[in-house]
């Protein structure tokens, strides 16, 4: 409070202009990132609300809280919101948007107006989805499997399908912007081999967005046409093939899981070297593994369809290919651990999230391999084992990365420090809550509890009670940062330009940055992550 009077504030992107218009019509990538932050947070809470309903229903074996129909809608809308309206835009549209131009020394993304347009598209889709939700919702599962979605469901499949079709365009435009920006807007001297790994990872993500999203777009259009005009392309009763829908759906949706995890890996590659005070181990390998993940991620999709009636030969091929995709993921994990090895590691909040990420992502990835094994999958397909697998990667991996990144760059974004003690506490709570929620699901899934039912045999109750208890802890872990980050906006310590003594270009400008990021275009003459040449000055102490 005392500080307000003392300094005449520097001009930055936040105080450059005031008023609602200056936000809604902005083309500043940093402001658009904040617009995204607000909107995805809203959807995170809506999605979280449905998760709460699901977990409460499953507290007891009987179907007492929700009817079967309501339960179907709850898990469908939980999934669709979390995947399409939260996780896919989360890191790219918020942190990527905010940071990529700064990391490459540019004034903005290549197409600022398209960037704003992509947010409006997101909002339009979000409004349509909320309309769908408010008028009764949809119950097909997030996967829209035909012919249930196209012929039988009498819920609002058309609205939901269109909303997700539309939100796809916002993600395509974001990807387009990133790719072109990375190609065209780099500061002098910033060669590809000097790019931060954050940028590499987002580049790979963008390729998936560009080449995968259109396929789900057209697929959803066909489902919508099938419902409205009775086309019959996916309807077995009329000569269509429902498995074709699954091919087209997973052609996008498996790569889409990498849209969710790659940006999180991007965050890891920034946090880990910084808090280990070491260069990233094997820079080239980490960079190339992002590209490899994007590429190989496109040739494994049918591992979701092993029991759907695809040919045995192609199941075998897809099983083998799925093992391949674990290789680049493992390379990353090994390289991060090698980066920490003999580093001077400090356990600051972002680093806690990063270490959580490594552990949880490893479990998630390895159980992915179990699932990719044909014989095992026949047993655990459509059980809680799958649920646990993908929550380990998407929540334990992607969301942890998102939170870690939000803390790491919060000083840059807001110009304030968050309270470190609370930050660490929240990270630990999230980690404990997460494991308590999802680890029992591996067991109960392996024992045979199927997914997507509102009732279950009483012998599974122990695991479900544990899981629901964990979910409550997890919820607290998510609410904490909401509270103290908002608190810090007003009461947090003023952040220095480079609180972590990190090497990236984004730390060489003010916190918060000026509208055009740099007072003059930087000239890059150094490699990324030269932490060995950047000792901590006396006065800076990172928490140990």
């Amino acid at each position: 409070m005392a500080t307000a009077a003392v300094t005449t504030e520097r001009k930055n992107y936040l105080n450059a202009e005031y008023g609602i218009r200056s936000w809604l019509l902005t083309t500043d990538h940093k402001r658009i990132a904040l617009l995204y932050l607000l909107s995805i947070t809203l959807f995170f809470f809506i999605g979280g609300f449905f998760a709460l309903l699901i977990r409460l229903e499953l507290l007891t074996p009987a179907g007492d809280l929700l009817t079967a129909d309501m339960y179907n809608k709850a898990f469908t809308m939980h999934g669709q919101i979390m995947v399409f309206f939260f996780l896919i835009p989360s890191i790219p549209a918020v942190l990527g948007n905010f940071l990529i131009p700064m990391m490459i020394g540019a004034k903005d993304l290549a197409f600022p107006r398209i960037n704003l347009l992509s947010w409006y598209i997101y909002v339009a889709a979000g409004v349509l989805y909320i309309y769908c939700l408010a008028t009764g919702g949809v119950d097909t599962g997030w996967t829209f499997y035909t012919p249930y979605s196209s012929m039988f469901s009498n819920t609002h499949v058309v609205e939901a399908g269109l909303a997700i079709f539309i939100v796809g365009f916002s993600s395509i435009l974001t990807g387009l912007n990133f790719v072109v920006t990375v190609h065209r807007m780099r500061a002098p001297g910033l060669t590809w081999s000097r790019l931060p790994l954050f940028v590499w990872s987002h580049y790979a993500t963008s390729i998936i967005m560009l080449l995968g999203t259109p396929v789900i777009a057209i697929t959803l259009v066909l489902v919508v046409l099938e419902r409205t005009l009775n086309l019959g392309i996916f309807d077995p009763a009329r000569g269509g093939d429902p498995v074709l829908f699954q091919h087209l759906f997973w052609f996008y949706s498996h790569p889409a899981v990498y849209i969710m995890i790659l940006p999180s890996m991007a965050v890891m590659s920034e946090i880990i070297p910084c808090f280990s005070r070491k260069r990233v181990f094997g820079y080239t390998f980490v960079a190339m593994s992002s590209i490899a993940i994007a590429a190989i991620g496109f040739i494994v999709w049918a591992h979701h369809m092993f029991v759907a009636g695809i040919s045995l030969y192609s199941a075998l091929v897809f099983s083998c290919l799925s093992f391949l995709v674990a290789v680049p993921s493992a390379i990353k994990v090994f390289n991060w651990t090698a980066t920490m090895y003999k580093g001077s590691v400090s356990f600051s909040t972002p680093m806690l999230y990063a270490m959580g990420f490594i552990g949880l992502f490893t479990i998630g990835g390895l159980t992915g391999l179990f699932l990719a094994t044909l014989g095992v999958d026949v047993h655990v397909h459509d059980t809680y084992f799958v649920i646990a697998h993908f929550h380990y990667v998407m929540v334990g991996g992607a969301v942890m990365g998102y939170l870690g990144g939000m803390h790491f760059w919060w000083p840059k974004i807001s110009g304030r420090m968050y309270p470190e003690g609370w930050g660490r506490l929240a990270a630990v709570v999230v980690f404990i809550g997460f494991n308590l929620t999802f680890f029992p699901q591996f067991i109960v899934g392996y024992l045979g509890m199927p997914r997507r039912y509102w009732q279950y045999p009483p012998e599974y109750q122990v695991y479900n009670v544990l899981s629901t208890a964990g979910a409550s802890i997890l919820a607290v872990g998510y609410l904490l940062p909401m509270v103290y980050l908002l608190w810090s906006l007003r009461y947090g310590k003023i952040a220095p330009d480079n609180p972590w003594q990190a090497t990236g270009l984004e730390w060489r400008t003010a916190s918060p940055p000026p509208t055009f990021n740099f007072d003059e275009t930087p000239e890059v003459t150094w490699e990324a992550y030269e932490y060995d040449k950047m000792p901590l000055p006396e006065e800076v102490t990172l928490e140990r």
Binding site: H183, L231, F516
Partner: protein
């Protein structure tokens, strides 16, 4: 060279003052132009995958239901389809020529060529509407009282119906099957040509704006990026049709097949 951000020797301030089209966050016009065309190329990559989903469905069913696809394909008007393809090719020529006119700074020619492009685009859409209308009359629009009876009558041998003459139950079953399968062809036909037509409509709208800009003299030999990238889009839509034409109209036109 041009792959690295083109922040070159031009003093920034000077270039920004002289070139009103240069947006603030680019270092120079060169960089801006490169960004725009590169963006369009990536977008076209996206478009390939967008149509790709439908091509995938097409291939699957074409393999499964070849006789029905061949018969249905033959019910499309070959002459009209061929001429319409030619119309679209003409429009691509006028687009290419209009970019050239812009490069040479010939404004009137440019506007004329752009108007010709729009004209050809509209002709194409008109012909398409005519063809769709014919399909409507023939009861070939899925679910709108769809009927494959004409196909069945004309292709007894192809469908193997002649061998089922003395087994009425099987015959009925087979006929129902033909009905379903040819309906799949027409579903895909309308989905593909419909999507293509939507792209054409967008293209015509886009070129309306471009023509207006050209008329206002916005394009110079140094700067005509909007025209250029709209042109790329138009050519792409043309290429989609170049593939749709044989895939839809020419599945099997062999005499006596």
């Amino acid at each position: 060279m041009s792959d690295r951000a083109g922040i070159g020797e031009t003093p920034l301030a000077v270039e920004h003052e002289e070139r009103p089209e240069l947006r603030h966050h680019f270092a120079d016009v060169e960089q801006q132009r490169n960004a725009a065309t590169l963006g369009m190329w990536w977008f076209l990559g996206t478009e390939i995958m967008f149509f790709g989903g439908m091509f995938c469905a097409y291939l699957v069913y074409r393999r499964w239901y070849f006789p029905e696809f061949a018969a249905s394909s033959r019910s499309l008007d070959l002459i009209v389809g061929t001429l319409n393809t030619a119309v679209l090719i003409c429009s691509s020529l006028t687009v290419a020529m209009s970019v050239r006119a812009a490069q040479l700074g010939r404004r009137t020619l440019q506007v004329k060529l752009l108007l010709a492009t729009i004209f050809f685009g509209l002709v194409f859409l008109g012909v398409k509407a005519y063809e769709w209308n014919n399909k409507y009359k023939e009861h070939h629009i899925p679910t709108f009282s769809f009927s494959a009876n004409d196909l069945i009558k004309e292709n007894q041998k192809l469908f193997g119906l002649d061998q089922l003459q003395n087994d009425p139950a099987k015959l009925q079953e087979r006929k129902a099957e033909i009905q379903r399968r040819s309906q799949i062809f027409f579903s895909l036909y309308f989905a593909l040509t419909g999507m293509h037509a939507i792209h054409m409509v967008i293209g015509v709208g886009l070129f309306g704006v471009i023509t207006w800009m050209a008329y206002k003299g916005r394009f110079t030999p140094e700067y005509h990026t909007p025209l250029e990238i709209a042109g790329l889009y138009w050519h792409f839509v043309d290429i989609v049709w170049i593939y749709l034409f044989p895939l839809l109209y020419l599945i099997d036109r062999r005499p006596g097949a």
